[in-house]
Amino acid sequence: MSLDKHAMAELIANDIPRGAYVNLGIGQPTLVADHLPADSGVVLHTENGMLNMGPAATGDQIDPDLMNAGKIPVTELPGSSYFHHADSFAMMRGGHLDVCVLGAFQVSAAGDLANWHTGEPEAIPAVGGAMDLAIGAKSVFVMMTLFAKDGSAKLVEKCSYPLTGVGCVDRVYTDHATFLITPDGVVVRETFGISFDELAARVPVKLLAPAR
């Protein structure tokens, strides 16, 4: 059976090394936080200047000066720290984060990422920290549905949407399969409710079978 977004988030959460420093992108990737084991020691970074961010704030916890990059009120955990935007993005750009989890419109076989702009002429472009996140972390994980609403695969030979970063994606977690972007090509790590052959038929990218 294919995975729902919570199952995908759980899968990613279990793949994050204990004690890792992690940035979770806006949208579905924030769900990963809910599935981290209580003793994971994972430290969450938010690019608006904080390490060791806690869960979303509720009720009296809500503080207008304490929000995540999606502008959602959050909490702080013991050991948290605050820093300004140049320091925060230096931390990202300098390769200090272990893992970053991002949503995507498309990922190419070479690990190019498109997640900031649909390229439609009437769309108002907005990039935020997407390009900085894409090139910064030691490992960049993408979390997305494998197929767009029109049925086309979002894992492609070459992105048709404007790029966010070139060759930056390491892994792609989708509802139907997990893919590893390697120097040798795209390796299918595991499939969910779909056979490798069926997957290979529906995804317009040469797929390599999982290593045994």
Partner: protein, 219 residues
């Protein structure tokens, strides 16, 4: 010179000239110098270039400044938000120019302005449409884009507490762009919750030293 402690936001924004480049702090509403922006609307300066992470929310603050037609150009990373209808309308009507800058480049380019760096090679955005037309160089096998400083004539920032000299501390994620913008503009104006006597702030915890701050107003 030590900062001037102003009696009102109007006094704090006095003298801002038409055509200025204004750095406006804040990420969403956290750290947004709302009262200073309101005072700037009253003050009347126009033909402005505004550098800020977002392009205004709802109908107040930066959005109200835009709605008055005072802003010629926005330099920002994320203009499109659920409540950015003022900017959206102006942009679609071709009434405002947009220079879209990745968020980290926005911060680092202002930092460069404040730090006397002439330009820097940055990996962010390499190979994307936002780097089109920019100088590119491969260094140690990685592709970098040459980015130039972003300087302000004025910075409007929101901090938490100032002492009477103008040393500033911030609060939680409201720190965001304030400390960087304070280094990057000729005239730096901070709104704070409280002004305390000099010596009351912990010297180890001051984030923006007074050298960067020209005017302070408690709101």
């Amino acid at each position: 010179m030590s900062a001037t402690i102003c009696d009102s936001a109007a006094e704090a924004v006095a003298g801002i000239e038409d055509g200025s480049t204004i750095l406006v702090g804040g990420f969403g509403m956290a750290g947004m110098p709302v009262e200073l922006v309101d005072a700037l609307i009253e003050q009347g300066a126009k033909d402005l270039t505004v550098v800020s992470n977002n392009a205004g929310n709802g109908d107040t603050g930066l959005a109200a400044l835009l709605a008055k037609g005072r802003v010629r150009k926005m330099v920002c990373s994320f203009p499109r938000q659920s409540d950015s209808w003022v900017f959206d309308g102006l942009y679609r009507a071709g009434k405002i120019e947009l220079d879209l800058v990745p968020q980290g480049n926005l911060a680092e380019r202002m930092r460069a302005a404040g730090a006397g760096i002439g330009a820097f090679f940055c990996p962010t955005g390499a190979g994307t449409s936002l780097a089109e037309g920019k100088e590119v160089r491969e260094i140690d096998g990685r592709t970098y884009v040459l980015e130039y400083p972003i300087r302000g004539d004025v910075a409007l920032i929101g901090a938490h507490v100032s002492d009477r000299m103008g040393n500033l501390v911030y609060r939680k994620t409201a720190r965001n762009f304030g400390p960087v913008m304070a280094t990057a503009a000729k005239l730096v104006i901070a709104q704070v919750s409280e002004v305390v006597d000099t010596g009351r702030l912990d010297p180890e915890a001051i984030v923006t030293p007074s050298i960067y701050v020209d005017r302070v107003v408690a709101v």
